[in-house]
């Protein structure tokens, strides 16, 4: 069973799973737009329809969907100052993640309601601007203290407190940058730790690095292992004569 050919029918996307991942990788689809729960449901239905448990497919699916979820979470909550999910236990982290995703969903509901409202009011026309023959109102202003002007300018010159600027840096560095970096690493060493390789990078950069890693796995240049959830991710250079027996998965994922 091919996970990548899993047909999806979501609000934001319709087509196979691997196309969705490609679009996310190319930043042509916002991770925030993707209903991950619907993908899980589609996969579970497909699994049930087959009537047998394909462990390889489950493993691949879990890694892909987890990375998608992580990317979505990072895209939605980019602020470095925010609570670091990594510092929380799995239980708390899941709760925090669900809470934040719910907040975003609430916003989407609000936007949907506004869109429907606009549609329902499309046949209401009213005047925007003054009536053609109305008198022109004259605005009069009381005497002002010139000290306010100096005060306003001094306030503008005050250095802002050191707060996160990450929202301004929400431009994704190119995936290719990390692809090259990882390929160079793998030419020198047969194995490296993902965490160590992204040490000191921002969350967004880490997320893009993770996508680059997935790309390496998909192009069968590397394999990935992780002993347990939240454990170190080992990246291994793929064997020259890797086991290409026609299955879609040439790598194993034990994080499931």
């Amino acid at each position: 069973m091919s996970v990548r050919e899993l047909e999806l029918d979501l609000d934001a996307f319709e087509g196979p799973f691997d196309l969705l991942l490609t679009l996310v990788l190319k930043a042509e689809l916002e991770p925030g737009e993707i209903d991950v729960a619907a993908i899980v449901v589609a996969f579970v239905e497909r699994l049930q329809a087959r009537g047998e448990l394909d462990l390889d497919a489950c493993g691949e699916f879990l890694v892909l969907v987890a990375s998608l979820l992580e990317l979505k979470a990072r895209a939605l909550f980019p602020d470095e100052e925010e609570l670091d999910l990594g510092d929380l236990g799995p239980e708390e982290a899941a709760e925090e993640l669900a809470r934040r995703l719910a907040e975003y969903r609430r916003l989407k509901e609000g936007a949907l309601w506004l869109a429907e409202r606009l549609e329902a009011h499309a046949d209401r026309y009213f005047r925007i601007g003054p009536s053609p023959l109305a008198p022109r109102p004259e605005r009069r202003l009381a005497k002002q203290d010139p000290g306010q002007l100096a005060c306003a300018l001094r306030a503008l010159a005050a250095e802002p407190p050191a707060v996160s600027l990450t929202h301004m840096e929400l431009r994704f560095p190119p995936v290719s940058q990390f692809l090259e970096r990882f390929r160079a690493l793998l030419r020198r060493r047969s194995r490296f730790d993902f965490e160590a390789s992204v040490d000191g990078l921002s969350r967004v950069e880490t997320a893009v690095a993770f996508l680059a890693l997935l790309e390496l796995v998909r192009s069968r240049e590397a394999t990935v292992t992780q002993a347990a959830p939240f454990a170190v991710i080992h990246v291994d250079r793929a064997q020259e004569n890797a086991d290409l027996d026609g299955r879609e998965t040439s790598w194993s994922a034990r994080s499931a």
Binding site: G32, L76, R106, P160, V163, M168
Partner: protein, 199 residues
């Protein structure tokens, strides 16, 4: 038709109603009852009575001018029956082509109350500078001072926003699912998936 009108016009409430018609036809924004009463130099209760008369006179199907209660006040608009004719003559610069991003940002500003661009970006997950600038240009949101701590400009929705979306006030926005219930639902779905996994 002439006769009853003449009878009514000797009634001072009808004179007040004419004054209110005059005020509404030249006003640029919806006028609250208090403002109408002040301009007409009359009692609020009597203004309300007159508005009742006008609501009947200027109602859909009877008149091309329709009295509506919107954005905290009263205003005239075109009847829905005349929408096609209006569409041929007038652009809709305020609401035409609002993107999904613009609607989400509007929802954030409307629901979060006065808020800064970083605050909106945190909820939406992407930068919103261009979107907010576009909404300011359309007149749907406006600056509302600066955030004291970080010095960032705060934004609020405008009365025009309420008017375009046909809201009497912001309190008419529907309450969205409360967070707890939504988190519960996601948890429930995860558990359902887990239950299907063979041990």
């Amino acid at each position: 038709m002439e006769r009853p009108l003449r009878l009514i016009s000797s009634n001072p409430v009808d004179r007040l109603a004419r004054t209110i018609e005059a005020l509404l036809v030249v006003a640029t924004t919806p006028l609250p009852v208090e403002e109408l009463a002040e301009a007409a130099d009359d009692a609020t209760e009597r203004v309300e009575t007159a508005l009742g008369l006008l609501a009947d006179r200027f109602r859909e199907g009877r008149s091309g001018i329709v009295l509506e209660q919107v954005a905290g006040g009263y205003a005239f608009r075109a009847s829905r029956e005349a929408a096609a004719a209006c569409g041929r003559l007038f652009e809709r610069p305020v609401e035409r082509g609002l993107s999904q991003a613009a609607l989400e940002t509007l929802a954030a500003v409307a629901y979060l109350g006065p808020c800064t661009r970083p605050e909106i970006a945190r909820v939406r997950g992407v930068g919103v500078d261009g979107v907010v600038a576009g909404l300011v240009e359309r007149g749907l949101v406006a600056e509302a001072g600066r955030d004291e701590a970080a010095g960032a400009v705060r934004y609020r929705t405008t009365p025009l926003f309420e008017r375009v979306f046909g809201l009497e006030s912001l309190s008419e926005l529907p309450r969205l699912d409360n967070l707890g219930a939504d988190a519960e639902e996601i948890r429930g779905r995860l558990e359902a998936v887990a239950a299907q996994r063979p041990a």
